[in-house]
Symmetry: C2
Subunit: 713 residues, 2 copies
């Protein structure tokens, strides 16, 4: 995994980016270890570059040949006539380090290393990768790979790859695709081609020790020929790259679709053994992708269906789905799927239904789904008018038209869909089961999205709706320096922050805490309790006893001064028995809060994304159902409300089972306060507020535990 | 929807089945309203039957023609030379009734009615369907349709349809498919053809007023040429047909795969407006399908992927999935999906890993997923040996081999997979992204299942695993007369069963109830409480007050005789105020139970499946999370345990959060007791046990409400 982190201040960001740009749009390419056998990875790129008419300069390097297929071959890197923009390295693993050093010394900015035999071999290979990365740094040359199958810029025809994808000449298009995986990336790229989706760029970063898919996409989306960016990753080390990319993509109004595998323990285990990727926690990844404004795809089909829909359509302005079908059953299945995905299948307006009735056959259905029946084959106008009428309904934002086969009517339908495309301004897609292949190709070429399976069509529509919502959101909060650990930073040593000090930080950030004071002894505890008012709780206070209850250090519901004094004495004695070496500051005396809905709030420093806030309902929701939501700091108030909205236990916040409805605004303010706290105090490693009482009028934290990195870390 | 219910005792089951068999395997077919235009539905069947070489007798009937394309045409039904096995009816809706009557009088046993203009038109059409059904009954002729596109038996080449599916001659195969929908059914059948899956039968039942897809499949699975049955429905009226079919399919060791749309409210609404199907409650359908041993598929792709895997493979003997991949990323994605579906991706044994290391290249991975890398192209043995070695591991029950493209190696790979198929006895499937089409076809013809997308391959493997588990289950409990309401039965009127009478029925079935006695007045309540022992609860007892709490009719935790007397008097007074006309029997006095995990048990008579038992955890699990499980009576003890296992709140039953683990055996016995109660007392319409206290040593119902049909109903 790449290891560029915020710690590496010395590196020049613009130089780093320029190297990636040079790789993506080279004017000259050296191929170190080039050979004449076009069936070998050392021979394929030269063959492809010439076949596709790459207009730049190509420099094969191999002392064995004076030329390869007529292209002059150089004996070594030093004798190259210029520093190439990029170099393909196709030599044995043992020689890769020296080759990269020589390239750097020549002035080449980026090496694309085909060679395998590195991290995929285990620990020894990992050490080779670390050495290789160091060589690159020393010699000012960036590395794509090793174990990559290279990349294609179809616009400039730099087919700098040995991928099977290039067995056919790449066709340029408005999609940029970067993949960590070679084989899976090739599969996705090949599928895209079959679907008629042109890839302007296809990059694989292989073992990804330096250049990442996110860095490639960050350059690719700046290309005005690119409209949609797609990425496949197994794990990411630098979450900031993803967040910055997503923010920029949103700014450019270009959707970013990401697939990450390793969703579950079994997959994550497989991912780790495969690439050594520390997948991070998938739930955090998923949350950050949503928050940053990218769209996550489950798998290769989901990715390409969404990409196909996004590249061919204007932005959806809402979540109302119109379904126009020739099969009632398919309509039902799509309505089912829409409901699962949170899309609306609104009833059409009376006016729309009247207009539909005027065009539909007698046994058609003018609800939503609209059933045009097979009659539209006799009268194609039935279909085209229906689509237009439905899309004109103000409740409809995107439309799916479902049909099957119709091999005898391909031309009629092609003309029909072309006419629809010309006439409407809202997005639509065609779900066509077993479409005639020639018609399907023609329609895709005309920017009419065709999906080949019923539920997948709705999934693609949902991608359009999600993208529309991303575009309408307020811009993300200004990015700040991420608090993620720099790679190579030793695991932080932490210390418990004293409760009242922590309380001060929490209150300064805007959190409300239950009234809490420190008493050094039992008598003082009694006096404080009398001042606070009863009932109170008494809790042991020691930075060496983070888990107070287990130390017998908590007594709740004390109603008199005498009871408080006794409880304080008991708690102090119990703590002394439980942890004789602990530094005891005294006891905390806290006013008991009125019971309310129990919430758990947390903050931790994620290794990939820096500070992340967690929120969940207390009790079984957190412990049994794992019903928690995450967001990366900084978090806006709207984002905080969105987190609460995403909880399965949301009905409890809304007053289910006779509870008082929770003051969601106050709870959201508590979440944004934690986010501010994280930004102001990057040294906070972990913070648990448990429980937090969320009532009808405000949110009060009752217990908290804060850990910060010791100054040494 | 068909309306044959248990109430229609007069109908002869064997005659009904014989008619369906005649339709599925006819020796003579009349086509009423036949015409010469092969583009019209009235002309297509004759064309198809002759094109495909149907060996039976064909009788076009139309007074306008003396012959059609050389086949003698009859002026009317009466003049036919024999009673045809089946008749296609392709006349205007208004003439369908008279046509069916004439067919019945001629002795024809089944009419396949292409004509539309019935239920799909709304209420008037529904009345026409009721009339049509009555005509069929009177004239001893069964009806497929109306609004059906007919059926195909590819073995006898009876292409009795106007479906586009028949634009190409049907190819027979080991799959039988019946669909309620015509257009969606055609799409599925066409997809099956493209995938190389031969359909022995393809039936569509259209508006399904009489013959159902389940009835068709019940005959089709008896055909020894058929190995897998698949059904598509929008709703079913007679759940018994489904259950009987699933039980018989299991007995015959033939998987039954069912897709039903209308999973959610939006879909169910669409389904109802489409076919008028009352979809029933989808969760109940889903539960019964599982319990009966059928496999539910989400959509057309899921159905066909599972069918393709099942028809090509032996039975999986466990849930251990071996993954052999050429792409680490694809391996991770498959492991993810396996975890979501509850499959295991077991670590391979040390011996297996040693054997793998001997064949894998240095940078391959011998874990699970096994990564053979692209090196297998140079040495095909790497792949074939890996598959064999993995399948020989005792922890592995089914294997997926993932690859992509390889268009230059199609023949090598084809031979390799053929060799693997010959060598192994466990099931496997190939996930091949963008396989060369000729190789794909050859492999499918050789019974090697090919799936074209990564996650879908795992979904298909899961279907094999699920089927394996179905085959290993004990046989289902003997079927009894279903308690579902006969169609046409008026909505039942119900009455509350007095609490002690209900208690008697519950205890007789084996349920444990908290000690409960009836007191007629406050003084008697005090005496009874003293005998029962304190604390007790007092509850109003009246068949007119089903909801006691709302009537101020419940007081809990009474610790003394005086308190009981006062509470009883209060409760009686409150009930009299709340419901002055209620017949008050007195008050119930109940020993208070020790608190335990609260469970909700229920029983109700489902309109589709008869008596269904419901179980859930109390409180938020039922009310907020809708975390409940269903099963149809009769329910075995193992099935009851399976219900508990399926609850999201299961960890609470196992002792999460410091609770006492629940006695699951006792709780399962309570569920089977409810099932027995339902069978013994079909008059019970509804029963709620809420709460039931499930403790570490037994299960005790604390409150119950039983409704039964009044004798009049």
């Amino acid at each position: 995994m790449q290891a560029t982190g915020p710690g590496d201040q010395a590196r020049d960001i613009e130089t780093d980016r320029a190297a990636v740009r040079a790789m993506l749009s080279p004017e000259s390419i050296a191929i170190i270890g080039a050979g004449p056998d076009t069936n070998k990875l050392s021979g394929r790129p030269l063959h492809f570059l010439r076949r596709d008419g790459f207009a730049g300069r190509i420099y094969p390097v191999n002392p064995k040949y004076s030329d390869i297929a007529g292209v002059p071959c150089f004996p070594d890197i030093a004798s190259l006539p210029e520093a190439p923009d990029m170099a393909i390295v196709a030599v044995g693993a043992a020689r890769v380090g020296a080759t990269v050093a020589a390239l750097g010394q020549k002035g080449c900015k980026v090496a694309v290393i085909f060679s395998s035999g590195f991290g995929e071999l285990g620990e020894a290979g990992k050490r080779m990768e670390a050495d290789l990365l160091a060589i690159g740094r020393e010699n000012n040359i960036r590395i794509c790979g090793p174990n990559t199958l290279g990349l294609v810029n179809a616009f400039v025809r730099s087919t700098a790859t040995f991928s099977q994808y290039a067995d056919q000449p790449p066709v340029p298009g408005r999609i940029g695709f970067a993949s960590q995986s070679g084989a899976f990336g090739t599969a996705i790229a090949a599928l895209a081609r079959v679907k008629g989706l042109g890839l302007g760029y296809f990059v694989s970063t292989g073992n990804t020790i330096d250049i990442t898919p996110m860095e490639c996409l960050a350059e690719i989306i700046e290309d005005e020929r690119i409209q949609v960016a797609a990425g496949y990753v197994e794990g990411i080390a630098d979450g900031d790259q993803l967040v910055r990319l997503a923010h920029r993509a949103r700014e450019l109004a270009k959707p970013l679709v990401i697939t990450k595998v390793g969703r579950h323990a079994a997959g994550a285990r497989a991912a780790q053994s495969h690439t050594g990727s520390l997948a991070g926690e998938d739930r955090v990844f998923d949350a950050v992708v949503r928050q940053a404004g990218a769209i996550r795809a489950r798998n290769e089909e989901h990715m390409l269906d969404m990409v196909a829909a996004l590249v061919a359509n204007p932005v959806a302005q809402g979540r109302g789905l119109g379904i126009i079908t020739q099969s009632g059953g398919a309509g039902v299945l799509m309505a089912d799927r829409a409901e699962e995905l949170g899309l609306e299948v609104p009833l059409l307006s009376v006016a729309t239904r009247e207009r539909l009735k005027a065009v539909l056959p007698e046994f058609g259905a003018s609800g939503n789904p609209v059933d045009v029946t097979g009659q539209f084959l006799a009268e194609p106008r039935i279909l085209s008018e229906s689509v237009k009428i439905v899309l004109e309904d103000p409740a409809i934002d995107v439309c799916i038209i479902w049909l099957q086969l119709m091999h005898g009517y391909g031309k009629v339908l092609r003309d029909l869909f072309r006419e629809i495309k010309r006439s409407v301004t809202k997005p639509f897609l065609v779900c066509w089961i077993e479409a005639p292949e020639d018609v399907r190709r023609d329609l895709v070429a005309d920017d009419i999205c065709i999906v080949s399976a019923t539920e997948r069509a709705v999934d693609a529509a949902e991608g359009m709706v999600r993208w529309g919502e991303i575009t309408r959101r307020p811009p993300p909060l200004a990015e700040t320096q991420s608090s993620r650990p720099a790679s190579g930073e030793p695991t932080a040593e932490t210390e418990v922050v004293a409760s009242l000090e922590a309380a001060g930080l929490l209150e300064a950030s805007g959190l409300t805490l239950v009234g809490t004071r420190l008493a050094r002894d039992a008598a003082e505890a009694g006096r404080i309790a009398a001042e606070l008012g009863f009932p109170v709780a008494v809790k042991i206070e020691s930075v060496d006893i983070p888990h107070k209850t287990e130390a017998g250090g908590v007594v709740l519901g004390l109603a008199s001064r005498e009871a408080v004094e006794k409880a304080a004495a008991d708690v102090l004695a119990s703590a002394a028995r439980h942890a004789p070496a602990a530094r005891i500051a005294g006891v905390l005396v806290q006013r008991m809060s009125a019971p309310a809905t129990e919430i758990v709030l947390g903050l931790r420093r994620d290794p990939v994304f820096g500070h992340v806030v967690m929120v969940g309902l207390g009790g079984i929701f957190v412990e049994v159902l794992k019903d928690v939501a995450f967001a990366r700091a900084p978090i806006s108030h709207d984002e905080a409300l969105g987190l609460l909205d995403s909880l399965k236990g949301k009905p409890l916040l809304m007053g289910a089972r006779g509870r008082e409805p929770v003051d969601l605004e106050a709870l959201a303010r508590a979440i944004t306060a934690l986010s501010r706290l994280a930004l102001a105090h990057p040294e906070i490693e972990e913070l648990d507020l448990n429980p937090v009482f969320a009532g009808g009028d405000g949110t009060t934290a009752v217990d908290w535990l804060m850990l910060r990195r010791t100054s040494r870390a």
